[in-house]
Every structure is written in C-alpha cells, then in structure tokens.
C-alpha cells in the first residue's frame, strides 16, 4: 500500500512538472509575433483602403464596464458612421482579471486588435514587442497633429523612440472632502497649501467614533506610497537605476507619516475597521470627512446626499500628485493595423469623443487644447474643478522598472506588513531595497 502511494506521488510530481513546462512554453516564446508583423506589413501595403467588405476590429477595455458601456457604444456609433467600412467589437473584463485574460488571448493567438493599457503595465507589453509602433502611421496621417495630445500623456506611451500607444485618458488624485461634516464640526475647509500636519489636525476634530465618522482615508499601498515619498523628496532609485534609495530617511519618514494616520493619530480606519467597505463607499455614505482618491470618482459621487468639494492633496516637504494615464495600443500582429489605427486615432483625439467623456465624467481626455475642458470646468460638483489642473503641475509619474508587477506586489506586501505591525517602516523599506535590487539585476 505504502509503496503504491509513493509511486503515485512520484508520478503526480513528474506529471505536473511536465504539464507546467508545457504550459509555460507558448507564453515564453515570442518568436512567431515578429513573423506575423512582417506578414501584416505586406498586407497593409497591398490592400486597397476602399474595401467593400466591412472589417471588424476588436477593442478590449477595462475602463468602460460597468458604468460607461453606453458612452462607449455612443462613441462607436459615431465612429462607424464616419468609417462605414470598419466595425468595432467591444470586449470587456473586470480589472482584476483583465491582464490575465489579455495574456491568455495573446498566448492563444487570438489577441484583440486594440487594447487599453494603463501606464504601469504599458512598459511590460512594450518591452516584449507586443505593441505596434504608431509613429509611421501618425506621420503619414495628415488629419492629425500629435501636438493635439497632452504632451506628458503622449510622452508616457513612447518607448525607445517608438509611439506604442495613443493616450486616451488621464487622471489624478485629489483630496475630496465632505463639506457638511466640516461645517458640523466647525472646521475650516482644506486649502491647496495644507500640509499633512494640517490635515491630521483637522481630521482629529472630525473623527467621531460614536457616529462611526472617520476624519481621513489615504490608502497605504504602492501608488500612494510612491507619491507621498515624492512629497518628502524620497526617490526609489537614482536616475539610471544603478542605486536603490528606497530606505533613505526621507522615505522612512514618508511611510511613517502614512502609517501614523491609523496607528498614532487614529483618524483613519484600518483595513479591519473598514471591514471590506471601500473608502469610496465610506465617503459616499457620509462617514468619511476627507478621502484621497481619483477624479474618476466624480461620476460616482455626483448624487451624494451631502455637499462635497475637492482641493489639491496636502504636502510634506514639497507638493507631489499622481498622474495616471490610459492608452489605446494596437497589437503588433493585428491583421488590420490600418483600421485599428483609425479607431485609436478617432477614439483618443476626436472632439466629439472628448465631449462624451467630459459629459459622462469618464476621466479626462488626454488632449492639450484647453477648449476641451471648458465644459469640464463648468460642471459641478465639485465646484473647484480648477484644482484638478492645479494638481497636474505637481504630477509625478510612477517609478517603473521592467519587472513592474513584481515590484508593485512585493512593495505592497511589505507595506501591508507594516500596517499589521509585523515590520517597522525602516525594516520594511530595508527589505524593499533588497527586493528592488534583485529585480533590477
């Protein structure tokens, strides 16, 4: 009996190992893609632009579902009216599974023609040569001048001199505050020149345990950390990424300030006290006086049963704010690169698209012409929309390395351990340094 079970185990091990190898193989080998690109380039040259048969392209997105699907439909209708020979098919996946599915679709050879990428994941796909260089297409396209795009957003999606995506939207993070709670506690509204010390002092007056009201929420996670770090003049690594500086005193102090909101000042709920409720939900239910979150929440907070507004996020030694951008990129081996390009160009730069975005509060179109934002600025709430553009002066881009996901996950886990009291800020960042050094090798 026992020999049999040993047999079984050895077999199982052998079998699972062989399957593991088999599973990895197609993902790792990128060779076929270049072949396909060569083929598609030929197709572009020979195919006539006025084809009778409509061409169907697939657009894969995470930001449309669930609340902007109708807006996207409207955009596609406008596009198809202008380009009757192109049909756009939408495919969505929830953000948590979006990139897993995209990897499988690419590995399976059925990748969508166009897909949405956020800046952090862009580098990974760019480096693997999975994205089509749009520079030649942009140059020959007389209908568009690339200065129409917000320069910083356009620049974010260029890689080694190639334009591998056109920016569709960008956004930033603000300090949202519930005016009713401030009035009730008799505290003056936040201003753009607040420091975190001012915010904590106000939050202490606003926190009311009997009512279940919290003063402040500013998540302790990777994205918030690199921004707060920048506010305290901390850099993750030097310019050429040869030396990792994440455990410098400035960085440790920045992290300690964040953790203290919960641990020392007790103005922010811990993950356990949140009990699975998101900070946005907490703010919307009127139980959170100040929330540090993105301008993508405008639509969700629109009908909040209280008055609220925004301002530029508080600072430490200096100001620093987020800059997030999403782009539409074309799969390098797409069978219809020309049609895919038409869609990407129209979707990201057409004034009517921009208007639909602005009207529905679907982030901001990444365009440079201020005329597009007049409508945006006049909408309320929040009334202080100018603060969004004020924030962008202080924007910092995330620290990005080739093994981005591993860095984000690794640092994120260390931050969690600090929140759980398993590590001090110093210990966590010492470990983060070792981790990033390993990832950069």
């Amino acid at each position: 009996m026992s020999t049999k079970s040993i047999f079984a185990r050895v077999f199982a091990l052998f079998l699972s190992l062989s399957l593991l190898l088999a599973a990895c193989a197609p993902v790792v080998t990128p060779t076929p893609i270049t072949e396909v690109i060569e083929k598609t380039v030929e197709v572009v040259v020979t195919s006539t632009p006025e084809s009778v048969e409509p061409v169907e392209i697939t657009y894969y997105t995470f930001s449309a579902a669930p609340d902007h699907l109708n807006d996207l439909d409207q955009m596609i209708q406008l596009f198809e009216a202008k380009y009757p020979n192109i049909k756009v098919k939408v495919e969505t996946a929830p953000f948590d599974n979006y990139f897993t599915k995209l990897q499988t679709l690419i590995a399976g050879g059925v990748a969508p023609d166009v897909f949405e990428l956020n800046y952090e994941n862009f580098v990974t796909y760019a480096e693997k040569g999975l994205l089509l260089d749009l520079s030649p297409l942009l140059k020959t396209d007389s209908s568009i001048d690339s200065t129409i795009y917000y320069p910083r957003a356009l620049e974010a999606f260029s890689y080694n001199g190639m334009q591998l995506g056109l920016p569709a939207t960008f956004s930033t993070v603000m300090l949202f505050y519930n005016k009713d709670l401030f009035d009730a506690a008799g505290v003056a509204f936040p201003t753009a020149d607040w420091t975190w010390a001012d915010a904590v002092a106000a939050a202490k007056l606003l926190t009311d345990p009997t009512e279940g009201v919290w003063g402040l929420h500013s998540g302790v996670q990777f994205w918030e950390f690199y921004k707060k770090a920048a506010q305290n003049n901390c850099k993750f690594f030097n310019e050429d990424k040869t030396s990792v500086l994440i455990n410098s005193p400035e960085c440790v102090q920045a992290l300690t300030t964040m953790v203290d909101f919960v641990k020392r000042d007790k103005v922010m709920p811990s993950a356990a006290e949140m009990g699975g409720v998101s900070d946005g939900d907490l703010f919307l239910s009127g139980k959170l006086a100040m929330d540090v979150t993105g301008i993508w929440m405008f639509a969700a907070f629109k009908d909040a049963p209280f008055k609220w507004d925004i301002t530029v996020e508080p600072s430490m030694a200096t100001k620093a704010t987020h800059f997030f951008a999403n782009a539409a990129s074309i799969f390098a081996a797409s069978k219809h690169p020309q049609e895919a390009y038409q869609w990407v160009q129209f979707f990201t730069s057409d004034p009517e698209m921009a208007k639909i975005r602005v009207d529905s509060g679907w982030e901001l179109p990444a365009l440079s012409n201020p005329a597009f934002f007049t409508d945006y600025l006049s909408q309320t709430p929040p009334s202080n929309r100018q603060a969004v553009f004020d924030s962008l002066q202080f924007a910092v881009v995330p620290p990005v390395i080739a093994r981005q996901t591993e860095m984000q996950d690794g640092v994120g886990k260390l931050l969690d351990q600090v929140m759980l009291g398993q590590l001090t800020s110093q210990e966590a960042l010492d470990q983060a340094k070792t981790l990033i050094e390993r990832l950069l090798k």
Binding site: A23, P94, V110
Partner: protein, 296 residues
C-alpha cells in the same frame, strides 16, 4: 442542513417509563441542543438574508450604519436595471445549458471510465488509473493556456463546445464512481455473465442501477462546479451573449466602485437555481460529503 442534522442527532430512544428527573434532564439537554442548532442555522442564513435585503435597497442605503436588515424603501429597481443593462435571460440560459450538458457529459464519461477501472482487467490498468488520478494534482491555472491554444486550433473560442467540452471529463468523478462500483459484489455480475450478458449489458443493467446514490452525488457536484465556474468561461467567452452568469456578474464590479445592490440582485438570480437543486437533492448532497470523506 440544520434540519437534517437535528433529526440525526436527537434519536427517539426516549421510552415512556423513564423516571421524571431523567426526562427533565433529557429535555434540558435537548433544549440546549436546539438552541445551538438554531444559532447555527441563523449564522448560515444571515448572509442569504443580507444578500436578498441588499438587492432590494437603493444605492445610498446599501452601506448605512447601523445596517438596515429590512430595506426601507424596498424596491425592485436593482432587478429591473440589471435586466436592462445585461441580457440576463440569455446568461441564465447559457449557464443552464453549459452546466446541464457538462453534468450529463461527466455522468457518461466518468461512469464508463470508472467501470473500466473497477472491473476490466487490461494490461497496465493500475498504471493508467494512477495517471488519471495524478491529473487531480495539476491545478487548472497550469493547463489553462495550452487548453486555450487547443481550443483556438479547433476554432472553438466563443462557442458552446469550447465552454462545455473541456469540462465533461473529471478525474474526481471517475475516482468516486470507481470506489462506488468496487463496493458492488462481484457475484451479481458473475451470475449475469453466466446468463450471457455482455460487459455493456452488465454495466447498463446491473452496475448503474445499483449506483444511483453515487451518480446522484456526482450530478450535484458536477452541476455545482460547472455552475460556479469562472476562470474558464471568462477566458473562452468573448461576447456578452455567450457569457454565463458568474462572468456576467463579474463585469458588474467596477475598478473603483461597485454597486452592491446590483451585484446582490445578480447573485440572487445566480443562487436560485442552485438553491432549488439543493432542495430536491438534499439527501444526496449530504450523502456525497459523507462518502467523499470516507473514501478519500
């Protein structure tokens, strides 16, 4: 479930000629028992009640403190909006079709494979069975990419075949049925064989009828597994009209904010068929858990 176990735990061995004090003691211990069972039942029921209650709320009442158990105002808006936003009827149909055919397929393939492994002595049958069992150790995440590529080669992406066929073989089901078949005395088959029955006749007329409980258990497990499946349908489906309910529901969760009343309304719709299946097949489900515990 609580009803079941209460019947099992409180045996009717009380006889009428018990002395009074004993009867009292018995009654006290029984009330304690019932109290515990009621508490257990409440713990089990609250999430369900919560789900239904949330699905009847409007957005701003979903996360109030103190939480509302009875929604006020109660509204069916979430359900109406859900049907407006998504082809829920089509998704329900897809889920039923996929789960139904997957279950049927598993019953056929597992029972036949199990019979072969239990009774037919061919060269290396133990080795093949070992191989078969070993596949239980390989997590699905590992095989998903090769499987996906295979489906592409067949041209089965975004089709019902692609959704259903990879699920119709189950090493677990085969193992479970093989163990059940092994408990059937060989003499039945021998006498049938003496009367001239072929292995197929023996399989269809003796083995299968004698294994009804095991087959029913497999039905429930297979249906549950397929009904709740998420990862594979998410990958293979590329259009809303082909989505099963769990995949459709997942698209309700936004990156930043989730309308829980909508999600809960969708969950109620997803749970109802399972719940009704459970009510009908309660006996077999309990039996199934007992069986897989004993034999595993």
């Amino acid at each position: 479930m609580s009803e079941q176990s209460s019947q099992a735990i409180s045996p009717t061995i009380l006889t009428t000629n018990c002395p009074g004090s004993y009867r009292l003691k018995r009654r006290v211990s029984q009330s304690v028992l019932y109290l515990l069972l009621i508490l257990g039942a409440l713990v089990m029921i609250i999430p369900f009640a919560w789900m239904i209650s949330t699905s009847l709320k409007t957005v701003q009442y979903v996360l109030t403190t103190p939480p509302q158990l009875i929604p006020n105002p109660a509204t069916l808006d979430s359900y109406l909006r859900l049907f407006e936003l998504y082809p829920i009827g089509r998704m329900l149909f897809n889920s039923l079709l996929v789960a139904g055919l997957t279950t049927l397929g598993q019953l056929v393939t597992c029972s036949m494979a199990a019979y072969a492994f239990a009774r037919l002595k061919f060269r290396g049958h133990n080795l093949v069975f070992l191989f078969y069992l070993a596949t239980l150790m390989v997590p699905f995440q590992v095989t998903i990419t090769p499987l996906f590529i295979l489906m592409r080669i067949f041209g089965w992406i975004n089709t019902y075949q692609g959704l259903i066929l990879p699920g119709v073989f189950s090493a677990f089901g085969t193992f479970m049925l093989r163990q059940a078949f092994l408990t059937i005395p060989l003499e039945y088959e021998e006498s049938a064989y003496m009367d001239g029955a072929s292995p197929l006749t023996i399989f269809l007329r003796i083995i299968l009828p004698l294994s009804k409980p095991a087959l029913a258990t497999l039905t429930v497990f297979a249906f549950m597994g397929s009904w709740n499946a998420f990862l594979w349908p998410l990958f293979i489906v590329r259009e809303q009209t082909m989505m099963t309910l769990p995949v459709g529901l997942a698209t309700l969760q936004g990156r930043w904010l989730t309308e829980w009343n909508l999600v809960m309304a969708g969950t109620v719709i997803t749970v109802l068929p399972m719940l009704s299946l459970y009510l009908f097949a309660q006996k077999y489900i309990v039996q199934g858990f007992v069986m897989s515990g004993l034999k595993g």
